[in-house]
């Protein structure tokens, strides 16, 4: 499905922090319905790239177009309304809220009740609305298999579960594009397998386009449609997983030639 339906188009994005160039003229595009992975060594600018898309950072120049809308001057909260959801590399859950409330926060822009109508709970449509969204949130909870912890405080959960709750929260936004920042970091093999399955389901059943940063090459090569490689803030390769595996630059920059055996094993 490559080059058919450009959904997210990034052109010449550069980002600098003082003298440090985090990103230099990066351009790529993601098609609708794709699983697109970004890989690269530490400090290559992968997370900076996601932050530019989700609105944490404002790149110095370049353009980020999503569904033919220019995102570059929008605030993060305005981008999420357009349908960009994301998870974080270092967990960013609302630690003192229950898992359920965390996910309900994801419904924020889909809910209508506010500080005046919300408190009139029984007399406005707030209760009905909250319960309808609760139903949809429960579907997400079912899908991610976290129903046993829905009433637990998010900050008390184990790492793998927290990652899953964060994914649930991002799904609750009903995004068209979901950005996953190292969804499998720190997970064991079983959790990784679960997570891979969730990501594929997201992509195939919910029709979300996925942009993912991941270090586990087995996962990246296994579930991505296309892969982009960053090194020192520059794009050094982009293509099908097999092409990337064979690319000389990539081997030198990141994969390490002598590790080739290990890689194929994974």
């Amino acid at each position: 499905m490559s080059q058919k339906d450009p959904f997210l188009v990034i052109e010449n994005v550069s980002l600098a922090f003082g003298g440090v160039k985090a990103l230099t003229d990066v351009s790529f595009s993601v098609n609708k319905g794709e699983v697109f992975s970004i890989i690269g060594p530490n400090g290559a600018g992968k997370t900076s790239m996601l932050n530019c898309i989700s609105g944490r950072y404002h790149p110095g120049n370049g353009s980020i177009r999503f569904k033919d809308k220019e995102l570059i001057n929008l605030k993060p909260n305005e981008r999420s309304v357009l349908g960009v959801g994301r998870t974080f590399q270092n967990l960013a859950l609302f630690g003192h809220m229950s898992v359920l409330d965390n996910i309900m926060v994801g419904r924020h822009h889909l809910l209508d009740n506010n500080f005046a109508t919300g408190p009139l709970y029984w007399f406005s449509s707030a209760q009905k609305e909250e319960l309808n969204h609760r139903r949809e949130v429960e579907d997400i909870i079912d899908f991610l298999e976290i129903s046993h912890i829905r009433k637990k405080q998010a900050g008390t959960l184990s790492y793998g579960l927290r990652k899953r709750v964060e994914l649930a929260r991002a799904i609750a936004l009903k995004p068209d594009l979901i950005l996953l920042d190292e969804p499998m970091a720190g997970m064991n093999q079983e959790e990784k397998e679960d997570m891979s399955r969730f990501i594929l389901d997201l992509n195939e059943e919910f029709g979300m386009t996925v942009v993912m940063i991941e270090h586990d090459m087995g996962v990246v090569m296994g579930i991505s449609n296309r892969v982009m490689v960053l090194d020192f803030g520059r794009k050094i390769a982009e293509g099908l997983p097999d092409e990337i595996m064979a690319n000389e630059h990539v081997k030198k920059a990141y994969l390490g030639e002598e590790d080739e055996l290990l890689m194929e094993e994974a």
Binding site: F94, G118, P119, R134
Partner: protein
């Protein structure tokens, strides 16, 4: 965690509606309703002294809940809550005196006006946080206090302003017995309002902003608006509390709304429990009763003749201030989560007795 459900065995919930109830079991709901009904008969039996205490708890408790929404739920800080409380008192008197608007309407209007003023002073919160925000709100405290002293048209300057009693259906609520009902209604109404706010969209947004503002923004929450709104809602509560205070006393003078009062509100929510609706009420009850208990203790010591009661009574005012300070320190050390948390622990102790957890 003790935040786990405290439901009795066999209470299975089969609808989402049942799962979002304020009162977890029918028993607690019934108990609460019975308490409110019992309170309705209180003026028939209780001494005016106790009624005064209840009315005090009610108007201070409403304002304290407002501060808890700002500090406990949204994670901001305000040192100007006392001034907003005073602004509500003056605003309601001003609205009802100058525009001949009935008092029952001027109280909510005063709340809305205080909300607007609070949002104006909350503007710095869009940019700064922590200690810097504390200083910015401290300036609000002094600016508003100064405004009371100078704006004769609004507050009557150094003379103060007269506030008419609430009058409904041709009845004046000017005694402790009658105002008690106004206070009770306002208390129940504002606390239900607060509870419902916290379980609907904007309440969750407040907590999200407190817990992780970066990811809250990614979740589609407009940080600037919610920080401002939090100041607005908090000032609204302060304004309602202040207006009740004014119409209860019948007279508002500028002296009372000092920094000390703001700190006292902070003490209430720290003692009661930051980020808990019922905590705000518990903390208020604690702070209101503390000096009364002290006074009773002093007179008890005096009656035993062990100490010179005269000196004790003379210094009672100092004791009271010291006691508030001491209690805050003790709470910060031993129960930083406040009375609300302690209450949960007591409940879980009952439930799991004789096991420790």
């Amino acid at each position: 965690m003790i935040t786990l459900s405290m439901r009795p065995c066999g209470d299975f919930r089969t609808t989402y509606k049942a799962d979002t109830r304020i009162f977890e079991t029918r028993f607690i709901l019934l108990l609460t309703i019975m308490t409110v009904v019992a309170l309705c008969f209180a003026p028939l039996f209780l001494d005016a002294y106790y009624l005064t205490l209840f009315i005090q708890v009610s108007y201070l408790g409403i304002a304290a809940l407002g501060l808890n929404i700002l500090v406990g739920f949204t994670g901001q800080i305000s040192l100007g809550h006392g001034a907003f409380f005073g602004f509500g008192a003056f605003a309601s008197a001003w609205i009802s005196n100058s525009f001949a608007i009935p008092v029952w309407l001027s109280i909510p209007l005063a709340g809305v006006l205080t909300m607007a003023v609070g949002m104006m002073f909350g503007l710095p919160a869009a940019r700064i946080k922590g200690l810097y925000l504390a200083i910015a709100t401290l300036s609000a405290q002094f600016i508003i206090e100064d405004f009371f002293a100078r704006a004769d048209w609004f507050s009557g300057g150094s003379y103060g302003a007269a506030a008419d009693p609430v009058s409904l259906f041709g009845m004046d609520f000017d005694s402790d017995q009658s105002f008690f009902y106004i206070a009770l209604f306002a208390l129940v109404f504002m606390y239900l309002w607060g509870t419902n706010l916290m379980r609907s969209r904007d309440g969750r947004a407040f907590v999200a902003v407190r817990d992780h503002y970066l990811s809250a923004e990614i979740m589609g929450i407009n940080l600037t608006w919610y920080r401002l709104l939090s100041f607005g809602v908090s000032s609204f509560y302060a304004g309602i509390g202040g207006a009740l205070y004014g119409h209860y006393l019948g007279f508002v003078s500028a002296e009372g709304f000092t920094l000390m009062m703001s700190v006292q509100f902070l003490a209430m929510i720290i003692i009661g429990g930051l980020g808990s609706v019922q905590g705000a009420l518990l903390g208020t009850i604690f702070i209101v009763l503390l000096p009364e208990v002290l006074e009773a203790t002093v007179s008890l010591i005096g009656s035993t003749g062990l100490m010179d009661a005269g000196t004790l009574v003379e210094n009672l005012a100092y004791f009271k201030e010291m006691a508030v300070g001491l209690v805050i320190i003790l709470f910060l050390i031993f129960e930083p989560d406040g009375l609300a948390h302690r209450w949960k622990q007591i409940k879980s102790y009952w439930k799991f007795y004789p096991f420790a957890y």
